[in-house]
Symmetry: C2
């Protein structure tokens, strides 16, 4: 019978965190594979990326391509598929895709987040053409334009304040009866004449063909809106972990220590999926966590190998 | 009398942390200036950089240039000078360079580290041509070659193990009578036939003209060495902070919380100079800390402004 290859590290996810981890893993000579349907992750959906130091004026898709080239240069094997199950097999982990089985000593969870969607007409069609899920990333592209942001919490509130610095007018469309943000954001919003809050209001459609030309809400149409930001939260993609002792916070983000270890031996996490990153979901932070994680895994594997002898 | 410009943020240091912070500060519309004799920092001294995701096959100098271009694109003002003193002026900070004075609401310390030098002939002359201060960065460039690393602690010991994965032979040159590293590194070193430890040995000269062609030690010459790694520690560049309540750890690294605040209000730190980064001194981690810091400063300034009103 053919001996099955045992990987030092199986990386689930090909976004900035997983890709950065793989680059470093190669440096540490860890036998590593990425399992992911694509390289780039969320980045591929970004209109332009100009906040990852050294890159400016690059589309999200082109930056994802750069990551692919980097992985190819380092000869990182990539299985273009979804992981659908993880099983413990003695000290090892077995990852099942739809067609194959991979065995590894450690697993990195770098599956990112699924941004919560409104599920309204035009949302998907105009993504990257006026519709955005990231104020920090895209606010600058709407200088002197009218924008809207929908949501109720700190992300939506601070997003509105941020947008008001560039844009001529900001509608903050809050589905609840009042905002659930920190008091100073509320003060800021109330004293900023550019920001108009619409409480108990839902957006029902994004208008436009080539780009956003307005939004429909339950309180009427806003035809001056050219940029529409959806800041209603995000859900970690972690359904595979249900059988393991991996602790999460109350929002579902995976708890990690400062070196990216989860609470289950052999399972690590990096990027938007972790409690560390949850505060500030950026390429730069994900890349950093992936790098740190690789060094941690290198150290832990060496330590475990010595302890066994 | 002319009203003096008050910056929201004065960034000391133009390396990856300072530059990344400046990019984000512009996104948050903070009135920001960098004070630094150069952009790029330690990166400018790296032979090649291939571990910052998206960049491979680029010289340190060229990557520093990319950072400069990014700052120019974002119109970040840069004062090419050294800060030589910081004074408190009410709620504000006054930063004195050799010729000017800058006033800011907050200060970012991103001055990086000064790698400890041996101070021997050939060290400076052959830096980037066989002499390196970073195993993680440069190990790959010495595949199948003989290398030496000098130092006594975990950095030197793990460095030797890392080097042995690529190189044909590794001299670990330890000035002390025994290594002061973690036991598993010691086990690993003792069981690895590629690694030869020379205790109570000092390197006295690096040989070669265009590239390293050997090293002289107090126990004799090693003429087969083509790569020489100096891992004897690093000292944070923090002399300017002596008058402030900025806590440091026992090695002089600046203590920061997970959002990059120091223990002194209004003073932040990011990059190699911090306790967060101290474990893993990489471009990726510094860029991430700079980005996170900017968001923290944005939030803190908004909060302070509200509290005053």
């Amino acid at each position: 019978m053919e001996e099955k290859e045992i990987y030092d590290l199986i990386i689930l996810g090909g976004g900035p965190a997983g890709s950065s981890c793989a680059i470093y893993a190669k440096k540490y000579k860890l036998n590593t594979i990425i399992i992911s349907p694509e390289i780039g992750g969320t980045i591929n959906k970004a209109h332009m990326v100009d906040n990852y130091l050294g890159f400016f004026d690059i589309t999200g898709m082109d930056l994802g391509m750069k990551f692919s080239e980097h992985l190819a240069k380092f000869e990182v094997p990539i299985e273009y598929d979804f992981a659908r199950k993880i099983e413990k097999d003695g000290d090892l982990f077995k990852v099942l895709t739809f067609s194959k089985e991979f065995v590894g000593k450690t697993i990195l969870f770098a599956l990112g987040l699924e941004r919560k969607k409104l599920g309204i007409p035009g949302e998907k069609e105009l993504l990257g053409r006026g519709v955005s899920y990231c104020v920090t990333c895209d606010a600058m592209f709407f200088r002197d334009k009218v924008v809207a942001v929908t949501g109720s919490d700190d992300h939506a509130a601070s997003g509105a304040v941020h947008l008001a610095q560039n844009s001529s007018k900001v509608y903050l469309i809050n589905p609840e009866s009042e905002l659930s943000c920190k008091p100073y954001w509320l003060d800021e919003i109330n004293s900023n004449s550019k920001i108009q809050v619409l409480n108990e209001t839902n957006v029902t459609e994004v208008l436009g063909a080539e780009s956003v030309k307005g939004i429909k809400t339950t309180k009427g149409d806003l035809n001056d809106v050219e940029g529409f930001f959806i800041e209603i939260g995000a859900v970690p993609s972690d359904t595979l972990l249900s059988e393991f002792n991996v602790q999460k916070d109350d929002k579902g983000f995976i708890k990690v220590d400062s070196e990216q270890r989860t609470t289950e031996d052999g399972i690590y996490a990096a990027g938007d999926i972790t409690t560390n990153s949850a505060k500030f979901l950026q390429v730069a932070t994900a890349v950093s966590e992936g790098a740190i994680c690789s060094y941690t895994i290198f150290k832990d594997l060496k330590k475990n190998a010595r302890n066994k002898n």
